[in-house]
Symmetry: C2
Subunit: 400 residues, 2 copies
């Protein structure tokens, strides 16, 4: 089985450390009060990674930007920084985590004035990169350590999961915290927590898994010892989402209930890597969800399993299958029979006044998704997804 894996479409890049030696004393100092994953296992065969994709397309990292001039304007630090006043970020967790204050902007919310999941995905990417930035090791801008650059390795994201309990609203101040940990022997995990600044309430949690790929051969790589020494001191044993929540996503085929075909990326959908960005993936997935669900429900969770990247000339198909079709149909009938048009308030009234729907509240609706490329011989998977939807509720608890 081929173990090549394509470059991720989005720069959920993660990383690193500026310490050459894995000095336990130093590490303990940095991670005071936090259990550090300090055990080094011997490298394993890459085939044991359960993350292998099929593709090996020609993604490049090259960009025509003057590095010196860019460095001046970006003001890239060459040493680890503890505070970034411009981004309102600071190093936390005893020196290895990162926390940033963010205000939800007017154009980051949808018609219901709450931040969209797109916004949340964007902010996760942004804070991950800023964490790397603060580490003082930003080289190519995509998160590779010095050791990785020497070994011609890049990070690729294999899996991402986001759970949203409450969507922040326009103008709300949130604190986003992110950190990294070990994932198996050759991978890395990056987690996030988004909290209300005012109440401390957790709005959203996220986790992602990363592996290394050789930039030239496009094959997955084990983690070289020199890279392990750079990265491991930054690992902490803390999980934003319990791992037992993990379940593999089934592969859909042409029998899927909802299919949007001939989707074409536009110029504005491309990110710094000239790949279709993550937000566009999300849009393609969500555009297959029936309107009645979008009106009465809100997205409470998403899991994405990345298989290969999508370039500007690709033609994409978005497949979607409800996991429990009967419930979705029932909800559709309920909504329309009670004349629900403005989901938010009506849903909360129904819930308050009608015990019948209470059980549905406990049973979120789930959809399985697949984005694929039309291949000459066979279709190629870009990303599998699962979305979970809960009934829209009234205002969230507030206790400043």
């Amino acid at each position: 089985m081929s173990v090549t894996f394509s470059y991720p479409t989005s720069v959920y890049v993660v990383r690193c450390c500026s310490m050459i030696e894995n000095n336990d004393q130093h590490k303990q100092q940095m991670n005071s009060g936090i259990k550090v994953n300090g055990s080094y296992r011997s490298p394993v065969k890459v085939d044991s990674l359960s993350l292998a994709g099929e593709a090996s397309s020609a993604a490049t990292l090259g960009h025509v930007v003057s590095v010196i001039e860019t460095g001046q304007r970006q003001n890239i630090p060459t040493k680890k920084q503890l505070v970034d006043p411009n981004r309102q970020g600071l190093i936390v967790e005893g020196g290895v985590g990162y926390r940033q204050t963010v205000v939800i902007r007017s154009y980051e919310v949808g018609p219901d004035k709450t931040a969209t999941l797109e916004t949340i995905l964007n902010l996760l990417q942004e804070t991950a990169l800023n964490h790397v930035w603060m580490s003082g090791l930003l080289g190519d801008g995509f998160g590779a350590t010095h050791g990785m650059i020497r070994n011609n390795l890049i990070w690729v994201v294999s899996r991402m999961q986001v759970l949203v309990d409450y969507y922040p609203i326009w103008g709300e101040v949130v604190k986003i915290e992110t950190w990294v940990g070990a994932s198996g022997k050759n991978g890395m995990r990056r987690d996030w927590l988004i909290r209300s600044q005012a109440s401390g309430l957790i709005f959203a949690r996220a986790t992602s898994t990363w592996v290394m790929m050789n930039r030239k051969t496009r094959r997955l790589s084990k983690m070289p010892e020199e890279v392990r020494k750079e990265i491991a001191p930054w690992f902490i044993e803390k999980h934003a989402i319990m791992e037992d929540a993990y379940e593999k996503i089934a592969k859909l085929d042409k029998e899927a209930k909802y299919i949007n075909s001939d989707l074409k990326p536009k110029r504005s959908d491309l990110d710094m890597n000239n790949h279709v960005n993550n937000v566009k993936y999300l849009r393609w997935m969500l555009e297959t969800i029936p309107d009645q669900v979008l009106e009465s429900h809100q997205l409470s969770g998403i899991t994405l399993e990345y298989r290969r990247e999508c370039g500007s000339s690709d033609i994409v198909q978005s497949l979607c299958e409800p996991e429990e079709d009967e419930i979705v149909n029932d909800i559709g009938k309920q909504d329309y029979s009670t004349g629900i048009m403005n989901g938010f308030s009506m849903a909360s009234e129904i819930i308050k006044g009608n015990g019948i729907l209470a059980c549905l509240e406990q049973n979120p609706i789930k959809f399985t998704h697949l984005l694929q490329l039309k291949g000459e011989k066979q279709n190629e998977e870009i990303v599998r997804g699962r979305t979970t939807w809960k009934r829209k509720l009234g205002p969230i608890p507030f206790s400043p």
Copy 2:
């Protein structure tokens, strides 16, 4: 001639002041060192406004959000604030202007790592709203003063112009300044400057024109005296763009060279008002521009004249006409004959090494645009536009 005017699609909302009386002494104190437009002219007939559109669709401002609860989470100030530490904003210009520090985020840049014009439009909207926010008068969230609310008036944008000399890059820190001024007898102007924090260099300038509309009748309104008293103390006589640069945009018809039809807004294209957002307008316009221009040129200016809003069920057509067709064709030939593939560096090399193209650099390419709705009897204009394109250049001057 009907003087109704539709609600703007985007919340480029502007405003205001918390002073009930137009107290000259107080005003002078607030505007120390700034020439204040303090002359009140008598109201004129609304027909004299040159901003009349045709549409009168049923836009609503209603949203099902608990105001109290939202207010708590947004922490909306009830009095004028001078500093907003979370947004890194502060009141400047002697008490009437607003300046905010913004770092260009990783997802706000395109493949060339510079901020997109979409990002710039978003940041203009955001800083305008934050300016209003700081004024302490935020009522419905869309910028109407207390006097306007009493008179059932809302702001509608009629024109917007943005000139970009340099696009900020990923990670760059910029300062965005915005202020308001008088526009004729019944209108208001809002201007912006975007500067490099490091060098002070002006990256972009923008101006916009606003008028008042009755929320129920959807007709343009003169400015009531009580509203004038609220607003005028905030006006300053300072222009980001010289007014003589103004030229009216011709209306395109079905003879236009490039036409994209059957454009349908998607759920994710809707803003807080349930209207298609400004960024989507921009995308629809830019998607008609030939690839060869997009590769070798960058957008240096855009003017938008708003005619009516676009709702979620509308079907849109995007028309585009180059102003000087021969030049565009010439440039296309030049580019391909020199094998230009990665516009940025090649263009700068061509310019450095080849004097032939230098004259083209002085003559930017212009396109005229029109977004329109397919009407039953006739097509209805949504927005006219003009875009100006300059050859891509090398790094910008940097002098910290």
